[in-house]
């Protein structure tokens, strides 16, 4: 019987939650790497037992952990992320130039067909690749070397590359997103990149057509339709039907169009999920009600999903990498909160249960569908 494995990164370690396909009972393993911030754990689509975890600390720096047995055991692999050439500078919060400095890995995106190839999105924003199972890393420096690189400025969480999407039809095409530079696309495997931010409107920017400087929080794509991208921006939920060449807003009746994660249903490419958050100054659900909003029309028409979620006195946040879907039918949807809850729905969002309630603040959730 197939099952689901949730890979949960938290402020104080990693957890692996496992269920059979019914998704009504879960085993909880962890914490792994207790006391360390685990920004992201992700699995290779080509080998479900191959996992990678980003283990970080303000004291001790970056460690990359790898598992070859589905998270039962781990071994540290390479942690040397060196920018290509002379790193140069980017824009700092106060508008001055600031040296590029590696801080941590925010996101791992394994290759769809090779368990030893994996991409890492890091802070300060850059894209690295390993082709030897994480032992060594090289920068795809065409991204950071883009002529706009000196204009990139950190968001409140840092200058982080947090989203990596690989086109399943044309793996040479990838989309990445950086807070607060915007979205970028390569069509040649990472050699050259161009900003794809046309149509984004960021009220903080005097020039509304500015090429970069947009605080993109997350981009999602359904593998069957890689031309269609969905974005949760700092404010605004956006959609592109041309691989990011242009964007239009699909927020419409959301109670707030501020938020962090966005996800696409595994089998319905026009069904998308967001978690509205009141504002960038409060970072809590509107009215103290934790609601996932679902659109089955690719945006603009949204319905609140509340069954099983707290509808009073709830003031948690849901971070950008903390929502994921499984590939079962009905589609499972999962998200983690800064309050330590991981909620799951085995019916595409109609109803929710708390799989765990008291983990450390959740930084990331990846759902893995097991054979």
């Amino acid at each position: 019987m197939s099952g689901v494995r949730l890979l949960v990164g938290t402020r104080k370690g990693a957890f692996v939650l496992t269920s059979e396909g019914s998704r009504d009972e879960w085993d909880v393993d962890g914490p792994f790497f207790a006391g360390w911030e685990i920004y992201h754990v992700n699995a290779s689509p080509a080998d479900p037992d191959r996992l990678y975890a980003s283990q970080t600390s303000g004291w001790f720096g970056q460690v990359v952990q790898r598992s070859d047995d589905g998270g039962k055991t781990w071994e540290p692999v390479g942690n040397e992320f060196v920018y290509d050439g002379i790193p140069g500078t980017h824009q700092w919060y106060d508008g001055t130039q600031h040296p590029w400095e590696f801080a941590r890995v925010w996101h791992f995106e394994p290759s769809p067909d090779d368990p030893d190839t994996i991409f890492a999105g890091v802070e300060d924003a850059a894209l690295f690749r390993s082709v030897d199972g994480g032992h060594s890393w090289e920068e795809l420096s065409g991204l950071r070397g883009h002529r706009t690189g000196e204009q990139w400025q950190p968001g409140a969480g840092g200058l982080c590359l947090h989203t990596i999407l690989i086109d399943p039809d044309e793996p040479e095409r990838m989309v990445v997103a950086i807070s607060a530079a915007g979205a970028f696309r390569t069509d040649d495997g990472g050699e050259t990149w161009r900003p794809i931010n046309r149509g984004l409107r960021s009220q903080e920017l005097p020039d509304e057509d500015r090429e970069v400087g947009h605080c993109v929080h997350r981009i999602a794509m359904h593998p069957s339709r890689p031309d269609v991208l969905f974005m949760q921006k700092h404010w605004d939920v956006m959609r592109s039907d041309d691989r990011g060449d242009s964007w239009h807003e699909v927020s419409d009746n959301l109670p707030s169009d501020f938020g962090f994660p966005i996800a696409v249903h595994a089998h319905e490419p026009e069904t998308i999920y967001v978690v509205p958050i009141k504002s960038d100054s409060e970072h809590v659900p509107p009215d103290g009600k934790l609601r996932v909003y679902r659109s089955t029309t690719g945006g603009n028409e949204w319905e609140p999903l509340t069954q099983g979620l707290p509808q009073s006195h709830c003031y948690v946040n849901v971070l950008r990498d903390s929502m994921s879907v499984d590939g079962l039918d009905p589609c499972g949807v999962y998200f983690g909160t800064t309050g330590g809850q991981v909620y799951g729905s085995a019916d595409a969002g109609d109803s929710w249960t708390a799989i765990v309630r008291d983990l450390p603040a959740v930084l990331s959730v990846e759902a893995q569908t097991l054979p």
Partner: protein
């Protein structure tokens, strides 16, 4: 023989209990001790000193013989008591936050 005390997280990472004992060839300095430590436990590379330039990470401090050696030049000789193994060379995660 040099005795090195690591903070808990680095002991866990290196898979060691208690003090680490290192046999050095040549002079005992911060650099030679940390080089030997990283050679014995490669997983510690990048956790105490940055890759590349080898700069001490900002929230790491070095103590021995009741003294803070963090700002001493990396190639200066360590105290004789450390070099002889009578005193422990301590790698400390600085208290920060609240």
């Amino acid at each position: 023989m040099i005795r090195v005390a690591l903070p808990q997280h680095l002991r866990t990472l290196a898979g060691v209990d208690g003090e680490v004992r290192l046999d050095l060839q040549g002079p005992s300095t911060q650099r030679t001790v940390l080089d030997a430590l990283e050679t014995t436990y490669p997983v510690l590379r990048g956790t105490i000193r940055d890759h590349g330039g080898g700069e001490r990470r900002a929230f790491i401090r070095f103590f021995a013989c009741g003294r803070d050696l963090s700002l001493e030049p990396a190639d200066d000789p360590l105290p004789d008591e450390v070099a002889s193994g009578a005193e422990v060379f301590r790698v400390v995660g600085a208290m920060a936050g609240g």
